[in-house]
Structure formats: C-alpha cells, structure tokens
C-alpha cells in the first residue's frame, strides 16, 4: 500500500475535490485492472519456475511401473521411496554426497579464513605495493574457469595428484579474489577508532582481526558462506575433469554419470537430481530473506 505509484495523482491535487473524484475513481479502476494483470503475469512466472521442480520431485517418488504406464504429469500413486533406496544402494550415491559435503566444508572454511586475512591486509594495513597487488588480485577475476581447467589438469597430472581429495579442494581453498574484494570493501567501513582503541589496549593485528573485525562483519561473512556453499555444492566442470571413477565423484558428476548410465530410467535419475538439489533448497527455504538480499548486494553469479 506504500508503493510510489500510489501517490495522489497530480490532477487530484490541483483540482477541487468535486471534479477530482470521478477522475480518481477511473484511475483506481485502471490501477486495479493493472494490478490484476500484474498478478496474472507473476503467477504464470511462478508456475513456469516451479513447474519443473514439482514434476521432477513427483517423478522421483513414482514407481517405474507407474512412470511407464501413465502420463508423466500424473501424481505419484503409490508414493514410493524405492528410487532413493536404489540410488543409494545400487547407484552408489552415498559416497558422492559425503565427498561433496567434505569438499564444501574444507573449501568454505579455508576460503573464508584466508580471504578474511588477505582482505584485512588490503583494507587496514599499509605496506609497499599494496595497491598494485590488489589490482593483480582483481585482475584474476577476469580469468574464466574454462581457461584454467586445462592447465590445472596438466599441473595436477604432473605432480600425480589427479583424482584425489586435494585435487578437488586445492584450487579453491586458499581464498577467492571475489571474496577478498567484498570483504575488503566491508572492512574499510569499520570505524578506524575501534581498531586504534584495540591497538592502544595492546591487541596485535591477529587479535584485532579475529576479535573485533570478524564479529563486526558477520553479515558479509554469512553472505560469503552461502555463496561459497552454493558454488561448491553445485560445481561441476572441475570435478568432472579431475576425477575418474566413483571414489571422488562429487554429487553433480555422479548425477551426470547416472544419467548417461541409466538413460531412460527417469524415476531413478529424478531421484538423483532431487538429492543433488534438496540440501540447497532446504538451506534456501531457511535463509531465503538473507540469501535474496545478499544476491543483489554482491552481484554474485
């Protein structure tokens, strides 16, 4: 009810109430019609957005028999967990979930700790070459992943570290230029007086960073945790290239492999995509307000 478009119309302001009344009524009618149209379009958009999810979840809970005999739009009857049971037993989907969770955990912790350290140095310490070095960090944001995967593959082959846990995490664990950039912006906004006061009280750089700067930066750190979890849970190209066989497959790689192995077995494949998407959807449902506002805040893609 407080949208800027619902301000009094200019005519209503200038003319006596008797003439303005019918005009205002006409305007309101138009607005109500416009609102109805807007709702209609928004609703169509929501159905188009959620439709594929609903259909795929439905399929994941159908028996293969029902899938084969009935329309694929029919709701599951009976509702069955057999696709998931088969996925975890025969499809070997336990390991990918565990591997992905481990990768995400290690990358999130490493990337945040190291990014926070670097961002603090860039934001709050003075040293020779700081600006040039910061530009180098920023410039690496321009490098597309497609360009680095081939040389990284070669490098990991050279040290015989292909298809290992370390190959999955090392390229990402030492911090991300993007996170460093965002954290630096945030740290610069922290009042210098606070930091100076801590210095006077005898706190060293390390303590100031973890006991004053980090607690004050909780919003941006929460945002980065979400972004990093999403990115690395969903990461596909690098794990696809650097792993072979089931041992270190991540959830996305396992889903792609399952899809090509059980080609027309869609109830099983939709169980796999459900497992791949569900954890993040739950996280999203819990923190949607924060997540939605942090996307537009950070420009993360």
């Amino acid at each position: 009810m407080t949208s800027p478009e619902q301000l009094p119309t200019p005519r209503g302001r200038r003319r006596p109430a008797g003439i303005a009344e019918p005009l205002r009524a006409a305007g309101q009618r138009r607005r109500r019609l416009g609102d109805a149209g807007a709702y209609l379009v928004l609703l169509v958009g929501a159905v188009l957005t959620l439709g594929p999810f609903v259909l795929s979840f439905m399929t994941a809970f159908k028996t293969p028999q029902q899938f084969a005999s009935e329309s694929s739009l029919a709701p599951p009857d009976p509702v069955t967990g057999e696709n998931f049971a088969r996925l975890f037993a025969e499809g070997g989907f336990v390991s990918p979930v565990v591997v992905t969770a481990q990768v995400v955990l290690v990358v999130v912790v490493g990337q945040l700790v190291f990014s926070i350290m670097a961002a603090f140095a860039f934001a709050r310490l003075r040293f020779r070459g700081r600006d040039a070095l910061f530009w180098l960090f920023l410039a690496t944001l321009m490098v597309p992943q497609v360009v680095t995967v081939i040389p990284l593959y070669t490098m990991f082959t050279a040290v015989d570290a292909r298809n290992t846990f370390w190959a999955l995490v090392l390229p990402f664990v030492f911090g991300s230029p993007y996170a460093i950039f965002l954290l630096r912006e945030y740290f610069r906004g922290i009042p210098a007086d606070l930091i100076d006061a801590a210095r006077i009280d005898g706190a060293g750089t390390w303590r100031i960073l973890w006991l004053i700067v980090v607690p004050l930066s909780r919003p941006i750190i929460a945002t980065l945790v979400i972004i990093t979890v999403v990115t690395h849970w969903n990461n596909f190209m690098w794990p696809l290239i650097i792993t072979t066989g089931p041992t270190w497959q991540t959830i996305t790689v396992a889903t792609a492999a399952l899809q090509s192995q059980y080609n027309a077995n869609w109830t099983l494949v939709m169980a796999a995509t459900t497992v791949a998407m569900a954890p993040l959807l739950v996280v999203f449902a819990l923190f949607q307000r924060h997540i939605v506002s942090s996307i537009s805040l950070t420009g993360f893609r």
Partner: protein
C-alpha cells in the same frame, strides 16, 4: 577518550602519526596475512595462464611426453573450422539468451516493484532456479524434453524430439538458460528500481508523465548502471555456459547444433581426441574474446551510464 589525551601512547599509536614508520611496521603482518591467498592465486590462477600458453604451443595426448610444436596448434585450430563453428554457435546462444533474459528480468522487476502484497513470495520463487546446480537442472530439463516419457510432450500432446532436432536444440537450450537466470536478473533490476529517487518519479507525475513515458524517459535511463552490470555479467557467463548445455546435449548436440565454445574445449581436451594443445588454443581465444567483449561493452556504455543520483 581520544588518542592524544592518553598519558602514555603505545608504540603503535605513535607510529600512526608518522606514515613512513607505520608503512614499515605493518609490512611483516600484512605479508603474513596475504601469504596463503597470494600463494593460491599465483599457483592456481596466474601460473595456469602461463601453462595454458605453453600448452597451446605443445602437443600432448595425456600419454606420450609433451612435445613443443611452435604454432602448429594455432594454425590447425584457426584453419579447420571447428573453432569458428563453436564461436558462431556461442554467439547465437548469447544473442538468444541475453536480450530475452534482460527484457524479461526488467519486466518482472517492474511488476514486482508495484508494491503489491505478496511480491516477496514471487521474488523468492523466481530465485529458486539460481540456487540449484545448473547440471542437475539440465538433467531435469532433459527429462522434460525427452521424447520418451518427457513432461513437455505429455503436456502438449505432441511427439517432438526437442533436443535431437538440429533446428530446435539450440533455441531449447537457450530457453532453459533464460529460465534459470531470469529471476537473478530480476533481483538486480529491482535493486536498480528501488534506487531511483521518489522525488524524480513524483516530479514526472506532476508534469503529467504517464506510466509509459515515465518508463522510457526516466526509469530506463536511470537504470543504465544496472543494465550495464546485468549485460556484462550475463554476456560473460553465457559465453562460458557449460554445465546445463552439457547435461541437455552431451557431445555438442545434434550435428554440433549446441557445440558452444566451452563444450568444444572440454570435448577437444578430454573426450575422443585428447588434444590438449588445440583445446588450450581455443581457451586462449575465448579469453581474448571475453576481454574484447567486456571492453566493447564498456565503451558502448561509457557515454550512457552517467546518471549517478546516489
């Protein structure tokens, strides 16, 4: 309590008054804090660029030792048409995705910014595809488009081979890409619209501007920076699109119809040919293309993005 009034300022505070000493005083701590991320960036972002240049000048099939071959790969890749085809497919893909995605994002943002009750719900719903793995969504859509038990043919009562028809495959893949990114684009336009000062809109209303001219003459020009951001990041992301396209149409699609540059690089390097040298050339070409596109967009918008009302 201000710093100078303290009876015994510590060494750090005194150094703060003299930038030169502070400069030296901070350096060891700064380098210690920077060491891990600097090492990571040098090893996993800078070194790979040098390696990819060197690989582009070498021949290697993952088995025999790497051999220096000069510009052979460059000549081969730039003359044999595969790269040209992939670049063409990629440009077509970008041209299908970007205008629609941007226009739809803007339209939805305008609808959501009417302040209707329940807008928040729609805003959240539209972001859902963004949170999910593009690979998983690609697999879901592959089922939807599947001619055997796929949802779309069941819905339409048709029998179309959406993904194996060379004429349909690329538009279909582009549609999925638009579907998964409109909500993300919408968020940015909403933020941009929220940033337009109400006084400006009120002034326009007082001057008798209708919704139509308010949009074209006020909102759209003031959204310049947002549009620029959305276009630059959108074009860069679409040029590198891989996961979804790989899930929908592995191996470049029917008759190479969806053989975008990222897929081509992957297939060239890791499937069939194991031609890492050729793939490296393509990767460097893509890199160059992205740099040029970014600079062009910057130049195009340089004269237009001048409204700063913040």
């Amino acid at each position: 309590m201000t710093v100078p009034s303290l009876p015994r300022p510590s060494a750090a505070v005194r150094a703060g008054g003299r930038p030169r000493r502070r400069l030296r005083g901070d350096a060891p701590a700064a380098w210690a804090l920077l060491a891990p991320s600097l090492a990571g960036i040098l090893a996993f972002l800078v070194l790979p660029i040098l390696v990819v240049v060197w690989l582009s000048l070498s021949r290697w099939d993952l088995l025999s030792p790497i051999r220096f071959v000069g510009l052979d790969n460059w000549v081969e890749v730039l003359t044999d048409g595969r790269l040209g085809h992939s670049l063409l497919v990629t440009v077509l893909f970008v041209l299908m995705v970007i205008p629609l995605q941007t226009a739809l994002g803007l339209a939805m943002a305008l609808l959501l910014s009417r302040g209707l009750p329940g807008s928040w719900f729609f805003r959240v719903v539209y972001v859902v595809p963004w949170i999910c793995a593009p690979l998983a969504l690609g697999v879901v859509w592959r089922w939807i488009f599947s001619p055997y038990g796929g949802a779309l043919n069941a819905l339409l009562g048709t029998d179309v081979e959406w993904l194996s028809d060379p004429d349909l495959a690329l538009p279909v893949v582009a549609a999925v890409s638009i579907w998964s990114q409109v909500g993300y684009t919408t968020l940015f336009f909403m933020a941009g619209l929220a940033g337009i000062p109400t006084q400006v809109l009120e002034a326009a209303a007082l001057d008798g501007a209708g919704a139509w001219s308010t949009f074209w003459r006020i909102k759209l020009p003031l959204l310049g920076p947002t549009t620029f951001f959305v276009l630059v990041t959108g074009v860069i992301a679409s040029f590198q699109a891989f996961d979804q396209i790989y899930a929908l149409t592995p191996n470049g699609g029917p008759q190479g119809a969806t053989d975008v540059i990222a897929t081509r690089i992957y297939l060239e390097a890791f499937q069939g040919g194991f031609n890492l040298g050729g793939a490296s050339v393509m990767a460097l070409v893509l890199f160059a293309v992205l740099v040029v596109v970014t600079l062009l967009q910057q130049r195009f918008f340089a004269g237009r993005v001048t409204y700063d009302l913040s």
